[in-house]
């Protein structure tokens, strides 16, 4: 990503408490509204942020509190979102991304988080080191409504 293209950027850090899941997705949605997205696009972004943040809260810090970092960048017609933690990490990323794969079936997880992010966003990158943490980067093109409406 070329730094010159950055239009706007925000960062939030918060405790790995489940009450922050709604806070995180609403914050990103409010920030993304600057790109004038459709309701559909906002819904996709909210769901994807919720998935990534919930994963950090549940899987990265299962028995302790930790910090979840959230960064969003607005480009001309695109939003890029990064969710990272310094928790347990993922042993096998390829397997983790498969639909229905979960290591927490006992906690009623369905193993659909990564599949949903992949479906609702345009790009999804997962980086992780066991014992060090996980970083999920995802992006989505926003079709600008007001540009369409000028015709």
């Amino acid at each position: 990503m070329n730094k010159n293209n950055i239009k706007n950027e925000m960062k939030i850090e918060f405790s790995s408490k489940s009450a922050n899941e709604a806070f995180a997705r609403i914050s990103v949605a409010a920030f993304a509204s600057q790109l004038d997205p459709t309701i559909e696009e906002i819904a996709d972004i909210k769901t994807s942020v919720s998935e990534a943040v919930t994963n950090s809260i549940i899987h990265a810090y299962p028995n302790k509190d930790g910090i979840v970092k959230l960064r969003a960048t607005l480009l001309e017609d695109e939003i890029e979102i990064e969710v990272s933690d310094t928790g347990e990490g993922i042993e096998n990323i390829e397997q983790a991304r498969e639909p229905l794969f979960t290591t927490k079936g006992n906690l009623e997880r369905s193993g659909m988080g990564f599949t949903i992010m992949e479906n609702f966003m345009d790009k999804l990158k997962v980086e992780s080191i066991v014992g060090l943490g996980t970083k999920v980067t995802m992006s989505k093109k926003i079709k600008n409504k007001s540009l369409e409406n000028t015709y």
Binding site: E21, A43, S110, G113
Partner: protein
């Protein structure tokens, strides 16, 4: 979450009134199981009329309650599911065992 019992038909009705994420599911799951175990319904219906947001936690909630209801021979159905939420359920394949049905009229049954 609002809970209604329809005695005649042994129908248990949950209307979800909040955004369905991990945080909320943790709070309503026990209540739902308690009602199912107490009432032993033939059918559990989840009304999604007021669910504007759901993530994968909602899938876990529904599958979990299906498991509880099955212990007492009950089934689970969903009503008033919006397109976005429906897409998430479809991706998981869960609709094969927990169908979305057209409607449910409380007058008919209750």
């Amino acid at each position: 979450m609002k809970v209604n019992h329809y005695l005649e038909d042994k129908l248990l009705f949950f209307e979800i009134t909040e955004e369905l994420d991990h945080h909320v599911v943790e709070r309503i799951r026990k209540r739902a199981d308690y009602e199912i175990q107490r009432f032993m319904p033939k059918k559990v219906i989840f009304d999604f009329r007021r669910v504007g947001f759901m993530d994968s936690a909602g899938i876990g909630l529904i599958i979990g309650r299906y498991k509880t209801a099955s212990l007492y021979g009950g089934s689970v159905e969903l009503i008033n599911v919006n397109e976005k939420v429906k897409k998430i359920f479809e991706m998981s394949g869960v609709l094969k065992i927990i169908p979305i049905v057209d409607d449910f009229s409380s007058e008919q049954t209750g």
